[in-house]
Amino acid sequence: MTDTHDTNAPPSESRRRFLIGSVVTGAAPLMVRGGEAEAADQPAAQAVREPVTVQLDVNGRTHRLDLDVRVTLLDALREEIGLTGAKKGCDHGQCGACTVLVDGRRELSCLTLAVAAQGRDIVTIEGLEGAGDELHPMKQAFIDHDAFQCGYCTPGQILSAVGCVREGHAGSADEIREYMSGNICRCAAYPNIVAAISDASRRMGG
């Protein structure tokens, strides 16, 4: 018996698909698999590895990077630019930890290739700021309502929450629960997350 495959099971139809904006590259297999590997190994695969110059606009600053085209927006942010606030929880679009705002909408940066994010306005947790010296109202509400424990899902929750409010989906606790269900919190701070978003929504005029 031989084994040449990555052990990752293919992502199945996710219950958490309604982060619609995110499925930019979701359907395209990122990894060369199985029989295709042989054929693709020649010129095409070499080209895949050739660095391309990518320009990313993140938090109001432009970054020019030479990247393997397979690099996701998440890895570009974390490994190349050094913005480690976006977190990797699955790399498969199943958890929401990597959520960032792209052109004002929430997207999963692990399912977005860096090359596909060029020319778009990207905001990460580090760039989400309030007025003057104040914290952004969503960040302040997360602190006030203790809407986290370990904090690992928190940047994604907060950016997703900002998107949720802007989309007009924070009208009731049930609506918040529904539209925040793309972000898993294993510490299970859910009731406090709902309270925080409800509070911030009011402060944001949402």
């Binding site: 495959h5 992502p11 606030g85 990797k88 997360f142 370990c150 269900s181 294993r186």
Partner: protein, 734 residues
């Protein structure tokens, strides 16, 4: 609903300060292990075995090595003897399992690391790992209890016998005789299993999320054959752990060795799927419970036999029936534990490791007994409440079980329940109300801390404990601020570093119980140095100024009740373990609680929902009701999830897991969770620890599943005794 959900402090509770590290967490600047940036880092990718048992016949690395950017590939062939065997935790060592990393051609379980690729980029490492060709000789793998190759045995050390069970059971008017089971479950903390290693000459720094950094340090030193003092393990934030990050896994030595071989820092972030095999997990269990009661509902006989599962490599079992048979008064008791060894990775600690499965069995059986005897389930517990455990006759240090039932029952509205199954309906919804007891042993360990007071009133507290989200930073600052009488905002905290005074494993709900006394002792020593009485309210800063001192620093060690004389030496070698619960000679100590849930089952779709849950818990002193509330509510949601959702599916053909990802391994999302209320019942217990704390990290998860199965029975009249409870189990029953 925008009011903060945690309660205002009452009784002996401390104040609900906001989390010490809150700004770092909301701003994305909290540095988790994989966030540390090291210049010149090479990236690693693990290759995991895709057979359940057998041998590696050959590797073909040609295609992998040809991938541009690949710098090294570690296999058992290329590593040779560079990683030494260290005994597992269960045989006096450090490792989470006894399989030596890349130790031989043998494959002991599906998912075992068989190679580590190191490359200039993550993409190249992943591509190369996929191009490694492994030829295996496959042997048959036993996957679970009923597999042909499973080795079964009874563990004599867990056997208990009091009185005459058989006689009492046979003669009793009311009895229950039933079997229960719980499934495989995985922690799935949101943070992946990451490790970064960097050498500076012969000194190694490891960045890795851990619940016991000294365990990693000393275990790794043994594996690499180097002086432990040359290893430093650092981790200021852990992105959730729940038991999975307690002990040395195989990956750490591989990354450390790779970094030495390539002369660069090496970073590994294992994939979500690999995480299902890299660390421990909750193995499946089975239970046979027999209960008998007299006409008044008093327990006459209690027998609990458990079956647990472990790996071929490591013999371990939790034996939670040692606790469950001590919870209620009963004159005739038997308990036994059996274990099956199969070809899987070694299981281990997962939030309430012994308590969650054994409580499900006992607390469901008690509900069945209440129905058999025509008693209210709460009253059955009251009738059998006891201040003395029935096996050895030892006293509970404190016990507020019925206060918890009464507080939670009142908040839930239990008196409005009609007992008849199926009698409560709301349109198409069948409504069921159920309850169960929660318990968790109060454990404590020896620990150490250092406290420094500056003349300008600044205080620094240091202890090598761990911030998992439970609120360790906040607790440490709060204890020092209270003990020294300085404002919270003058206190800074260091933790998560093996260069700091050692603290115990962040496990067994024992961090606060163990570390708080060491901080208190160091603060008291500072007071004494300044000529102030220990218990006095004297102003330490004024005393500093009066004495003309610039800075005072004190280091303190505290030994937990019943600990052996060598406990401090063991603590300093990363080998101390918390004790307490039923393991003391003079007493037993438990946090106790009561769980109430409402279940709604839709008559047409059979959808099972839990719109509300109310728990009440008595766990000694609560230092910070805000962080404690988060732990309890999070624990209850874990309990709901363990009852209705979580189940790792085993492939019987190869002992692998079928649903090792976050789409197929069901975890609750926000829309799955309704109202969850946690009540903290005031309780004073000065015996468990000088801090009076019993710990709240795990108890919220215990008993919830039984409350839910009991509520399902109340809703539709059907007993479900196998977790998780799912739609497919009730298709015929409405």
């Amino acid at each position: 609903m925008t009011e903060p959900l945690f309660p205002q402090p009452t009784g002996t509770m401390g104040r609900p300060y906001r989390r010490y590290e809150a700004h770092e967490k909301v701003n994305g600047t909290a540095t988790y292990a994989s966030d540390v940036r090291l210049a010149g880092t090479a990236h690693a990718y693990l290759l995991a075995s895709k057979i359940g048992r057998g041998r590696i016949e050959a590797f073909d690395l040609t295609a992998a090595l040809a991938v541009p950017g690949v710098v090294d590939i570690l296999t058992h062939e290329t590593v040779g003897g560079q990683i030494r065997q260290t005994p597992s935790l269960y045989t006096g060592g450090y490792a989470a399992d006894s399989v030596r990393p890349l130790g031989s051609a043998d494959v002991a379980y599906w998912g075992q690391p068989v190679a580590l690729v190191v490359a200039d980029s993550y993409e190249a490492a992943r591509e190369a790992a996929q191009k490694i060709d492994v030829a295996y000789a496959v042997a048959e793998a036993a996957s679970s209890f009923d597999s042909g190759g499973a080795e079964h045995s009874e563990l004599e050390q867990h056997a208990l016998r009091v009185g005459d069970f058989d006689g009492a059971f046979a003669a009793a008017p009311f009895k229950i005789d039933a079997h229960y089971s719980t499934p495989v479950q995985h922690h799935n903390a949101m943070e992946l299993f990451a490790t970064q290693c960097v050498w500076d000459g012969d000194r190694l720094t490891v960045y890795e999320p851990g619940q016991y950094l000294n365990n990693i340090k000393y275990g790794l030193a043994e594996q690499l054959g180097i002086d432990p003092e040359r290893i430093r393990v650092v981790n200021a934030y852990v992105g959730g752990a729940f038991g999975a990050k307690g002990f040395l896994t195989q990956r750490t030595a591989l990354v450390a060795l790779a970094a030495r071989r390539v002369g660069r820092p090496v970073k590994l972030v294992a994939t979500r799927e690999q995480g299902f095999f890299l660390s421990a997990y909750r193995a499946e269990t089975r239970h046979h419970v027999q209960l008998a009661a007299d006409q008044e509902g008093r327990l006459l006989a209690h027998r609990h036999e458990g079956w647990e599962l472990t790996s071929r490599a490591d013999l371990l079992a939790f034996g939670g029936n040692g606790m469950t048979v001590r919870l209620y008064a009963c004159p005739n008791i038997e308990s036994r534990v059996n274990v099956a060894r199969v070809d899987r990775s070694t299981p281990g600690f997962m939030r309430g490791p012994a308590e969650v499965p054994y409580a499900f069995a006992l607390e469901t059986a008690l509900d069945e007994l209440a129905y058999a005897a025509g008693l209210d389930p709460v009253e059955l517990r009251r009738i059998n409440d006891t201040d003395v455990e029935p096996v050895g006759g030892l006293p509970y240090t404190s016990r507020s079980l019925m206060q918890c039932f009464d507080a939670a029952g009142a908040a839930f509205g239990w008196p409005d329940r009609t007992a008849e199954p199926g009698s409560m309906r709301d349109g198409d919804w069948r409504v069921g109300w159920g309850c169960a007891a929660a318990f968790y042993p109060a454990y404590a360990a020896s620990s150490s801390a250092r406290v420094r007071l500056h003349a300008d009133g600044r205080v620094h507290v240091a202890s090598g404990g761990h911030e998992l989200g439970q609120g360790m930073y906040t607790m440490m600052a709060q204890v020092a601020a209270e003990r020294l009488g300085v404002p919270m905002d003058r206190v800074s905290v260091s933790l998560g570093d093996t260069d700091l005074p050692p603290a115990i494993v962040a496990g067994g709900s024992s961090s606060t119980t163990s570390v708080a006394p060491a901080i208190m002792a160091a603060c008291d020593a500072i007071r004494r140095r300044l000529g102030l009485d220990e218990g006095s309210q004297g102003d330490v800063v004024a005393a500093m100024v009066a004495s003309g001192t610039g800075m005072v620093e004190e280091y303190a060690e505290t030994r937990a009740h019943g600990e052996a004389p060598d406990t401090m030496r063991r603590l300093h070698r990363g080998q101390a373990a918390p004790s307490g619960g039923i393991h003391l000679e003079d007493r037993v100590q438990f946090a106790l609680g009561a769980q109430f849930v409402e279940v709604r089952i839709h008559a047409r779709t059979r959808e099972i929902r839990v719109p509300r849950a109310v728990g009440a818990f008595a766990a000694g002193r609560i230092i910070n009701p805000r962080t404690a509330h988060g732990q309890l509510v999070g624990g209850m949601i874990w309990g709901i999830s363990s009852a209705l959702m979580e189940h790792t599916d085993i492939d019987p053909r190869n002992a692998g897991y079928i649903n090792a990802n976050l789409a197929d391994y069901l975890l609750p999302v926000n829309a799955d969770i309704g109202t969850v209320q946690a009540i903290m019942v005031p309780e004073v217990d000065d015996l468990v620890s000088p801090a009076g704390v019993k710990g709240v990290g795990e108890i919220g998860t215990v008993g919830t599943a039984a409350a839910i199965s009991n509520a399902v029975h109340h809703a539709i009249g059907k007993r479900l005794r196998d977790l998780p409870l799912r739609i497919e189990h009730i298709l015929e029953d409405i």
